[in-house]
Assembly symmetry: C2
Homo-oligomer: 343 residues x 2
Amino acid sequence: MARRPFNDTGTRPVSMADVARAAGVSQQTVSRVANGLPNVNEQTRQRVQAAMQELGFRPSYAGRSLRDGRYHSVGLCVNDVTKFGNLSMIDGIASAAREHNCAITLVEMSKTEEFSLAEATRRMAALPVDGIIIGMSRMAPDFETFDPLPGIGTVIVTMYAHPRVTTVDSDHYGCSLLLMDHLFELGHEQIRFIGGPSFSVDEQFRRAGWQDALERKHIEPVEPLEGDWSANSGYEAGRYLAEHDRTMTAIYAANDQMANGAIAALRDSGLRVPEDVSVVGVDDSLDDFVAHNELTTVRFDLHQRGREVFEHAVPKAGATDKTVAIRIPGQLIVRHTTAAPRT
Amino acid sequence: MARRPFNDTGTRPVSMADVARAAGVSQQTVSRVANGLPNVNEQTRQRVQAAMQELGFRPSYAGRSLRDGRYHSVGLCVNDVTKFGNLSMIDGIASAAREHNCAITLVEMSKTEEFSLAEATRRMAALPVDGIIIGMSRMAPDFETFDPLPGIGTVIVTMYAHPRVTTVDSDHYGCSLLLMDHLFELGHEQIRFIGGPSFSVDEQFRRAGWQDALERKHIEPVEPLEGDWSANSGYEAGRYLAEHDRTMTAIYAANDQMANGAIAALRDSGLRVPEDVSVVGVDDSLDDFVAHNELTTVRFDLHQRGREVFEHAVPKAGATDKTVAIRIPGQLIVRHTTAAPRT
DNA sequence: TTGTGTTATGAGTACGTTAACATACCCTTT
DNA sequence: AAAGGGTATGTTAACGTACTCATAACACAA
């Protein structure tokens, strides 16, 4: 039977059988040469390699995967590549993947629409992946009821724990405690909070940490403000606080960008940082964008998080598959936007 | 013969044959149900779907790809995910890929080592990809001699044209002309340049545009400064210029981050922006990080670039495969860091 | 009754790879 | 000369899917 046209191009990739025919050997011998196995006569090897070169052979990923049941790629689902949190996730996972000689199959879900874990895993499972990683930057409506697909490692990057799925995240709650303890030690008590959008999971935990830290010291938390992670929203919030709250001595902004905006607003309002008001952020993300970055903040080891995520998504042979919840602590970076309050 | 253990887990994914056995139908009927084809009896369909559910069937990507010769994924090779240029490339390509219901297979080459196009394509070609995209942020030593693999669409993201490979990029030369014309129209002539690292391709073209624009007006370009794209390096350069060059009236920084640093340096040196010195950047990347971003800059349509890249890497049926070099123009964004020079 | 068309289903095959097994040959050793 | 052992190579089977073709059952019209 004549070969049917293979795909749109009408051509068919060169297979080992083609090379074998050209070199006058069996297809298995081509396989041996391709994989660098011993027990091939040197002349034969050269003849085969010449034929490969000549025909432009490249091994079929599909054939190989079908054969040995592995894809050497891990699926990563995020809803918006450009958000700092997601970017840093990609970076961390990419370096972990590289260490394992593994690629990342990236799927961006709609930036705007709500997405469900079931939908995300369904899409990822149809791709060449040995494991599934889902970035859950906002609460998925089916988080509680979600069951991972059997037979494929699944990790959700989120602070929420799940009874049947391993979850990994930077400790977005603990980072607040680190910062609040730092401010408490300096003597601050009236600490306002500028948060991100309320649907954000990171925001929810950073805010909870702020609130719990205050309540543990029996300080009544004053109404948190809501930004959108951008410097401009931090500026607006900072303006508002400078004009309406004369008792606050410190501001905790839920990321560095808003903290940077808040600092600008305070200074525009005639307040000095840190002499009049201390400001802290989270992420340690300003260095590239701001000269002489002086912001006290928390840095997360995103590569470590990437490694943890990767290794739970693609478990090694013989590893236990117990569901765990991993929280990776951040590190307090004290710079020069925090000081003791005026007495 | 007993089935051999399939992979490390010792289990084997559920195949259509397994479902067929459970449902008492042929494997082909399962295929029909899985793909929603007509001509299946309603009762049979339900029995098969029940069996799929029961066993946890998910179609094998490898089997399907082997069968129809497509992967529905495009390979993307970058050397450092976190750089602004690469991030925005991923974002643009991700949205183009999503429109085509396609995933991205991301490979990060070593951040530090030199990389060759041959090596990059070799690695990408071993992955499940219908096309190859290589981000060449620095000159590859084998660029001139490089031949794309036959049988798979290849696009290099770079400003350099290549006789045998389609290249696509934002117009890093033209953006300089846009900015320089803007400054010329305001009356500037002594325009200094703060560039990125000299190995960067983007840098080379942005600098060339600056230099050519000056020379076209018979103005001798004064020694460009070299930064590393960071705000701090822009600050250093700005400090240097403020102290050593009393005749300059404008600074062109090769990205916004350095421009932002330079502005801070000028102001710290007692110079006003834009009254004493105008400053321009490129990328329009500050908004999230800086409140009240006032920088005059050039914005690139990175989604358009992503689409162009994608569509040339994965050509549609019947498309001509002529090699082209596509340069996507940027758009001048005039804000408030540029004004007429003092007279 | 015979022919024609439709619908549901199954059988066979090809896609490219690699493991396991089989074979053929040459070189030692007894 | 026969036996044994290594080396090079070929043969077969299996991985999971979807296309093509075949078959069987049935409906309807001439």
